[in-house]
Symmetry: C2
Subunit: 542 residues, 2 copies
C-alpha cells in the first residue's frame, strides 16, 4: 500500500462504478456513450494522423519529461473515462510520433490500413488467450490454419503435406511470437537444442544445460555465422541462450553488400579446424534492417546442406515479398531454410506487436516442449506447449482477416509500390549533385548522404587518411541534416553508419529511408530531398 | 509465390482499393461506415459475451477443425471488410470461449472492463513502437513514469529516489514485457549475468557465454531454487538461458502449501557443499498459479541476504494485491526482492498480452544492454536498449489510463471481491458433504474435489496403498465432472493435480477455480457446485 495518493477526490471508486465499467452497455443511452468514445478515438486521432510527422515538435524532450514525473498512484479515480480519452487525443497523440505520415520514411513502422484498428479491437474484446484451447477454442484452430497458409507461402510442400499437418495436434509448422526478436530467438533456441545428441549421462541441452552439453561432446564453444548486417536481436539471442554474443560471428559483406561467400567458407574452414568449436547455425538475411539487402539464399542453403548446419533465414522484413508475383524470385532459396522469421507488424502491416517463426520440420518444435499440470497437458491442442511466450493474444485472427480483406494481391501492391518507389527515389538521389547514393535498394530500403560535388571529386582522389578526414566532416553535417529535419517536424528519415566505399576501413553516417507507406510518392520524396538540401547548404555555406 | 489461389474472383485488389483501406475516412459517409463497423464489433460481440461459457458447445473439436483446413491464400480479396467483421461476429465469436462470463472461473483470464477495448484500439491506432524514442516520443516518457509508479508500489523508496530515476535516461526501474513468462525470463537472465564477475580473460557471461563463465570460475552448474508450485515458465527460462531446466530445482512445500523453509535451507547447504555448483537465484511465489499460495517472502529475503543470492518474486498473479489496503500485508517482504514479475493481463485486468518486471537496482538492466547503429544508440532514451523483446506496442498507455480511470481503490475493490468471494466459496464447499476442500484460498484461488461422504471416511482410515486405490477412482470421476461440465457449456472450472494430503506420495485430480470476475457472485458459485454435484452423483450412482 505504498506510493498511493490518498487525498479525498471528487471521483469515488465504489462497487457501483466498478459494475458499470465491467457491465456491457444494456440500454440505448449507454450504447450511445460507448459509440461516442469510439468515434472520438477514430476521428480525434484522425486529425492527428493527418498532420505532419512531429518526431520532436516545439516542446523539447527534457521539458516534456518534466511533465511526467509524478510517481504516485491516485486512490480514487483521477478522471472520468471520457476525460481520459479526451486527454489522450488532446495531450498524448500530438506528442506521439505520427508514424502513419507518408513523410515518415525513417523506420520500419508506418501507416496501417484503418481496418487493422477494428481487428485489434475485436481481438481485445474477445480477449482469448491462445496459450491453451480452454481459453481460445476456435482461435487455436484458426491459428493452426493461418500458420499452414504462411508455411506454404514459404516452403510450398504439396497438398498432402498440408492436409496432414494443418490441424495435426502432434505437429507444429510455426508459432506466433511478439516480434522478430523472439522469433529469431526461438529459431536459434531450436538450432542450439538440436546440436547435441544424447551421449552417456547427457540427455539433452534443454534439460541438462549448455555446460553439460559441451562437456559431453568435448566442445568449448558454439557459434553462429551471419553477415555483419545481421539484426542485433541475433546477438541478443546469443547472449540469452548462453552462447555468448561474441560467438554470433559477423561475416564481412561483398560488393553486393550481402554476405561474402568466400569469406564465409574460409570462416567455416577456420572454425572446423578448431575441434573445440561447433557451428550451430548460419543465418541468411532476407531484407537487412539497415540496407534491405537479401543474402544469396540458395548458396547459403547449399553450404548449410554440405556441412549439416541449421539454416535460418531472418525474413522479418522481407518475408511478405513472397506474395508478389513480380518480386518473389528475390527470396529464392528461402524454401530450403530450416527456420524462417517473418514479422506481422512490418510488411504485413499489422499493429504492434506480432511476429512469426516457421520450421521446415513439423517436429522441430518438439525440442522445446513445456507442460504444466493445470494446463497444456501433453498431446493436447494447446498451442502454448511449444512457444517461448506464455499467454498470448490471438494475432492470428488479424492476419487471417487481413489476408481475406486484401488478398495476396493487395499485399503485393504495397510491396511493389515500395520497391518501385525506392528505385525511382534512388534515381532522384543520383540526379542531384549534392547527394551520394550509398546503398541502392534491392527491396524498399536505401541509404545515401550529403556530399557536395567538389568534395565528391576530392574523395575520388584521396588516400585512406584523407578520406577519413573528409568523411568526419561529412558525418557531422549528415548528422545535423537528420536532426534538423526531424526537429522541424515535417519529415523524418533515420540515420545509421555504413561503409561509403567497401574498401574503406571506416563507416560513415548515412541517411536511411524505408519506403513502406503506400501514400509515400515521388512528390513527397522530392520535398524531403529539397528540405535536406536546403538544410545542408545552409550548414555548408556557414 | 506459392500456396496462392489464383482463380478469378468477384473482388479485385487494385490501387484504388488499397488507397481506400489506408486513407482515413474524409467524408461523412465514410465516417458513418467506420462507426457502423465499430458498433457491430462492440454490440455484436456483446450478445456473445452475455451468453454462457461454451468452452466446447455442440460442435466437437474434430468437426470444428475440419472447417479450417484450406491452406491456400486467395489472390484477390475473399470478402469485403463488412463481411469479414460479420463472419467474426457470427462464426468466430460463438466458437470462441466466453472468458468474460462470470461462470468462467477456471483460468486466470476473465472479463476486462469495457474501456480496455477502447484503450487497446487507441494504442493500435497510434501504432507507436516503444523500442525507440523516434517511433514513440511521449509514450516512452509516459512508460518511464508508469514504471516508476508501479516500482514505488512494490519497493516504496523515498521521493528523492523516484525524482532521481523517473525520467533518468541512464537508469531503468523496470520494463514492460509481453507477459509473465518473458518477465520471469528477463529476471533470471539478469540474475545469471550478475553471478559471474570478470576473471582473467573472461569478461562477462553475456559476451563470452555460459561455458566460459563456468570454466573461468571453476564451476560446472548453476541452479535456481523455487517451491514445487513455481510456474512452468521458470523451467522454460532455465532451458532457454542454458542453465538446463533440471537445474531449476523444486523445493517441497510445508503444511501451509508454501515453500518449506527447513527443506530449502537443507537444500542450500547441500548445494553449497558441492563446490562445482552455485545458486543463481531463489524465487518466492506471490500467488501460485495452481493454488494462489504466497511464499513466506520476508524469510526468503533473509535467506537470500545471508547467502548473497538474487531474490526474485514471481508476483505475476498477486502483484496488484498491493493496491488493497485490506490485503497488501499478504505480500510483505516483496519490497526486499531484487526483481519482481507482475502481469498486466492478469489482475490489472488488461487485454492480452502484457507483463512487467521490476528491479530494485536501477542499474540491474545494464547487464543486458544491446545497441544497434541505426537506432537505440548508447545513452539515448530508447527503451528497447534494455528489453528482451524488440518492437513493442505502448501497453503502458493502457495501464496508465486504467489507473486514472479506476484509481487504486477501483482495483482494490476487484481484488477484495475475489479474495472474499473465494473465502465464502471455500465455506460453501466445506458445507457440502460430497466435496473436499483441498487448498484453501489465501488469495482468490482454491481447489477441491468430489469425494462422497462415505469414501471420505474410508480415506481417513486407509493406509497409503488403499488411499492410492481410492484416489485413482476419485481422479477418474473428478476428471469426468470437469469435462462434462465444460462440455455442457454453461460453466467452466479447470483441473490440476495436487496432493490431497501432504503426507501422500501421490497427487490427485482437483477442480481449480480462480475468482477474478467481479460479476462472479455466491449465487453463481452455488449453481456451479449444484451442477457438479448432479454430474458427480450421476456418475457415482451408475
Amino acid at each position: 500500500m505504498t506510493g498511493i495518493k490518498k487525498e479525498p477526490d471528487a471521483l469515488v471508486a465504489d462497487r457501483s462504478t466498478l459494475h458499470r465499467v465491467f457491465l456491457r452497455p444494456e440500454d440505448e443511452t449507454c450504447r450511445q456513450t460507448l459509440v461516442k468514445y469510439m468515434e472520438q478515438i477514430l476521428f480525434g486521432l484522425h486529425d492527428f494522423l493527418n498532420k505532419h510527422v512531429g518526431v520532436t515538435e516545439e516542446i523539447s524532450l527534457i521539458k516534456l519529461a518534466e511533465e511526467y514525473t509524478d510517481t504516485t498512484i491516485n486512490q480514487n479515480p483521477q478522471k472520468k473515462l471520457a476525460d481520459v480519452i479526451k486527454d489522450i487525443i488532446d495531450e498524448i497523440a500530438p506528442r506521439a510520433v505520427n508514424v502513419a505520415s507518408p513523410y515518415f520514411i525513417g523506420h520500419m513502422t508506418s501507416a496501417i490500413p484503418f481496418f487493422m484498428v477494428h481487428l485489434k479491437a475485436i481481438t481485445a474484446a474477445l480477449n482469448q488467450n491462445v496459450i491453451k484451447l480452454e481459453t481460445s477454442k476456435v482461435l487455436s484452430i484458426l491459428e493452426k490454419q493461418i500458420l499452414a497458409k504462411i508455411h506454404r507461402m514459404v516452403f510450398n510442400f504439396d497438398d498432402n503435406f498440408y492436409r496432414t499437418h494443418v490441424q495435426n495436434t502432434q505437429t507444429t509448422l510455426g508459432v506466433f511470437t511478439t516480434g522478430g526478436t523472439t522469433a529469431n530467438l526461438t529459431a536459434l533456441w531450436i538450432a542450439r537444442n538440436k546440436l547435441f545428441p544424447a551421449k552417456g549421462t547427457f540427455e539433452n541441452i534443454e534439460k541438462n544445460g549448455l555446460f553439460a552439453a559441451l562437456k559431453a561432446h568435448g566442445l568449448e564453444r558454439v557459434v553462429v555465422l551471419v553477415s555483419k548486417r545481421g539484426h542485433y536481436s541475433l546477438k541478443k539471442a546469443g547472449g540469452i541462450l548462453g552462447i555468448g554474443h561474441e560467438n554470433i560471428i559477423p561475416v564481412d559483406i561483398d560488393s553486393n553488400r550481402s554476405i561474402d561467400l568466400v569469406k564465409l567458407k574460409n570462416k567455416i574452414r577456420e572454425i572446423q579446424a578448431d575441434k573445440k568449436t561447433k557451428i550451430m547455425a548460419i543465418i541468411g538475411i532476407a531484407g537487412a534492417t539497415e540496407t534491405g539487402i537479401i543474402d544469396p539464399l540458395p548458396e547459403l542453403a547449399k553450404i548449410c546442406k554440405i556441412h549439416g548446419i541449421h539454416f535460418h533465414v531472418d525474413a522479418a522484413w522481407g518475408g511478405p515479398v513472397l506474395l508478389s508475383e513480380k518480386y518473389y524470385h528475390l527470396l529464392k532459396g528461402i524454401e530450403q531454410a530450416d527456420s524462417v522469421t517473418i514479422d506481422c507488424h512490418k510488411q504485413f502491416y499489422m499493429p504492434m506487436s506480432s511476429g512469426m517463426v516457421y520450421f521446415k520440420d513439423p517436429k522441430a518444435l518438439d525440442r522445446i516442449v513445456y507442460h504444466a499440470k493445470y494446463v497444456n497437458r501433453p498431446g493436447s491442442v494447446d498451442l502454448g506447449i511449444k512457444t517461448l511466450e506464455g499467454s498470448r493474444e490471438a494475432n492470428s485472427l488479424i492476419l487471417d482477416s487481413a489476408l481475406k480483406i486484401m488478398g495476396s494481391r493487395g499485399y503485393a501492391l504495397m510491396i511493389e509500390h515500395g520497391i518501385e518507389t525506392a528505385q525511382h527515389f534512388a534515381k532522384m538521389i543520383k540526379q542531384r549533385p549534392v547527394f551520394q547514393l550509398v546503398t541502392k535498394p534491392q527491396l524498399n530500403i536505401l541509404t545515401y548522404r550529403f556530399v557536395p560535388e567538389k568534395i565528391q571529386k576530392k574523395l575520388d582522389y584521396a588516400d585512406k587518411k584523407q578520406r577519413q578526414d573528409i568523411d568526419a566532416i561529412l558525418d557531422n553535417i549528415n548528422k545535423q541534416i537528420q536532426r534538423i529535419q526531424r526537429e522541424a517536424g515535417k519529415s523524418f528519415v533515420s540515420r545509421t553508419r555504413l561503409k561509403a566505399c567497401l574498401d574503406d576501413d571506416h563507416d560513415v553516417v548515412v541517411l536511411r529511408t524505408v519506403i513502406m507507406n503506400p501514400m509515400t510518392d515521388l512528390k513527397i520524396l522530392e520535398e524531403i530531398l529539397d528540405e535536406q538540401e536546403a538544410i545542408a547548404l545552409n550548414i555548408w555555406d556557414s
